[in-house]
């Protein structure tokens, strides 16, 4: 029992550290991008014509950014390819103030080009508000909830869910159908795992959501071409 208690405490401290780091890292990120390059660098992009990228969305960095069909980048979402190329699949929704990629890892260090800095986001993934995704791989149908963090090089499986404020450290992996809640507890989502119909429904809902957003968010792809 004492083991369990202590492990809870460990996970609690583990959780606090990256959150504090964001606060510290966020302004420095801004400083570095404005100080070294007065205008935001426009990255090379491949954006599917059916994707929705809001006027106020921020795509910046040096490496290639590709956005798949029917994906939605909300206003004030940031796709930062300063460390490596970023691939976003189909029907992905990236909400406002979320960051995908990023110049620095969560511990404030400059991310090195050891191969893990590439970011692949699978189909029908939702990145919620203020989430930070530096992961190497996010599997199909996963949800990164509000203010959740995925560290550099982490690999998230299919249909995973990070609960609000949950955090996955650098180079960690999460198996398919896993839910990670804030106290660091992992739990397999049996409903999704054993029910293909529920999964189908999930992707159906995602498509509906995208269609709804298409009506609400004016897209400006020309800005990035």
């Amino acid at each position: 029992m004492s083991d369990q208690v202590s492990s809870n405490r460990d996970s609690a401290t583990f959780k606090v550290v990256p959150a504090a780091a964001t606060v510290a890292a966020a302004p420095s990120k801004r400083v570095s991008s404005t100080a070294s390059k007065p205008a935001l660098s426009k990255p090379p992009t491949t954006i599917h014509p059916s994707a929705i990228v809001a006027e106020k969305a921020v795509l910046t960095g040096l490496y290639h950014i590709s956005i798949g069909a029917n994906s939605v980048i909300h206003p004030f979402a940031r796709i930062v390819s300063e460390a490596g190329p970023i691939t976003i699949g189909e029907n992905v929704i990236v909400n406002e103030r979320a960051v995908v990629g990023g110049a620095r890892s969560s511990d404030g260090m400059e991310r090195t080009g050891d191969g893990n800095v590439e970011v692949h986001i699978g189909n029908s993934v939702t990145v919620e508000s203020s989430a930070v995704v530096e992961a190497n791989m996010i599997g199909e149908g996963s949800i990164i909830d509000i203010e959740a963090r995925v560290g550099t090089g982490a690999r998230i499986g299919k249909y995973c869910k990070l609960s609000p404020k949950a955090s996955v450290g650098a180079n960690e992996t999460m198996e398919d159908f896993t839910t990670l809640s804030d106290p660091g507890r992992r739990h397999t989502d049996h409903l999704l795992k054993c029910n293909p119909t529920v999964r189908a429904l999930r992707s159906k809902r995602q498509k509906d959501q995208v269609e709804l957003l298409r009506r609400l968010i004016p897209s400006n792809l020309a800005k990035w071409s």
Binding site: Q4, P164, T179, R186, D189, A200, D208
Partner: protein, 615 residues
Amino acid sequence: MALPFPYTYFACPCTETTSFSSTTDPYSTEPAGGAAEDEESTFHSQSPRANYALYPLEHLLYCEDCHQIRCPRCWVEEIMTWYCPSCLFEYANSMVKSDGNRCTRSCFNCPLCMSNLSIVGQNEETDKAQEGSHPLDKGQQATGPYFLHCPYCSWSSVEIGIQFDKGKEIYDQLQRIKNGGRVVMSQKDKEREQLKLRRQVSRGSISQFEEPETPKATEKESYPPDDRDLFANLNAFYKSQILESTGGSALGGAFGALSDYGISSPGTLSRIMSMYGSNLGPKRGKDKPAPMREAQSEMEGVRLTKDNDEEKIVESMQQMGWDATTSQEQRREHPDNMDATLVSDLRPVPTLLRTKRSKRCRTCRHILVRPEPKVASTRYKIRLLALNYIPSLRLRPLTAPAALGTGTPTSSVTASSIASSVSLDAIPPARSLSLLLTVHNPLFDPIKVTLATPSLTPPLRPNAPASRSRVTILCPQFEVGASGDVWDEALDVGAKESREKSIKDAAAALESNASGQKQAEAGKVWERGRNWTSVVLEVLPGVVNSPVPTARFAGEDANVLEIPLYVRIEYETETGPGEGASAVERAAGGIKERKEQRELEYWCVLGVGRIAQTA
């Protein structure tokens, strides 16, 4: 303490009735006898007891009849309403007594993460998929089977094999389904069964336990009975034991039908009497009751631990890993889950009910707080907050360099060196510090305030007189204007003059600022507003040595500079015709309103900050 610096805590006067005896106070430097005479004059802010007397002003109430501050120790709470925080259903007191303090409708919490579970109809989802409807369109009828689903951690009752036929009255349905989906008898059915059994027993069959229960036993063989079954069995067993020991005769049977063989039945009574062996019951001495035996089997309510039970648990823990085991919090959440080792043993937790409470003064029984009984309403019918009756004190460091000419020993220290950057988390020791204490008056009458403080604060360490801080209140007596409409001041002629005076003062202050700085003078108020007045406190913090591991109470508060402050306010108020006047006077009609002198005195503790430790 929890609040950030600087803070003010108020001591409820009810603590005065319990004395701060020096035998329990490790910081008292006085001998044990000295405390008694000192008691009236000093509040031991460092005493461990003080923690139970001090409250932020916002937590205190005020009794209008006793004219006194009231704290949680001197008010009584009464439950007005029970309600479910999830569905806002109001539960009658009798329902809480019979059904327990949990929602018996359809509100459940997740056994893993404690967030609210939602009821999901499985076919609603497939329907939606087929229809291809827009997500904005609502009103689709969910159809069964239903299950509970946690939107936070995605736990679902499907995992423990529980589904429901109906989307309503989940509580009742859940009672009948065990983990894994096995349907058991409801409590009512069980009781009926027990009754039937008891009747058979009372009819006098010889093998009372084996025979009627054999069909039940075979049915149950593969599943161990749960706690409720065991308790029911045990209950039935002892009831029948009492019946048996009182003779089991036709007479006993007749009594049994009538009086349920409770402990107060005549048979039991005579048995107890015969146990004492007195000659009160010599007639029944002959047919001695058979001694009661203990329960022996599961049918009689005893759970026997099997040899391989624990091995099985260990084995399954090995197989399923850490995440499949339950945490202490999860087990504590509900009695049903107390024995659950694995996540698959957990059951959804019915939502705990909440209460709305009213508060009464313990002394005069008058109501201090009374919320509106309606569950959805957050308003109060009565709420006598101390905030509205006693002046609030606010402390802040005086950042403008203040003069130090009031007899503090280290007045040679240049004021500017302290001035700009006083960090309250590390107050430099032995350096004079000026603090501004602002007294706000919430009353509609002007008040006269008298402040007092011991010239030396209680020592922070036992036997360390150097850790005492010297405190001087530059202006201990002053007046604070009445609270009221902001426009009253503007329209009042008298106030106009005072305003002009304050403008002059401000001009003078500006002048002095130009030449040097505003001077804090002894006996003079620093600043004054409509219903507030500020005075200056000079503090010479004591010297605190680096951590003393041997000190018993040297915890996190060991170097916090706290100033005990005695506040006495006097004011004259108009009492209504009903209040304070006798019936005769009222009848005479001569007195419509009369002036009444009131005074209120209490101790406060001003938490200034932490004194930086010297090595």
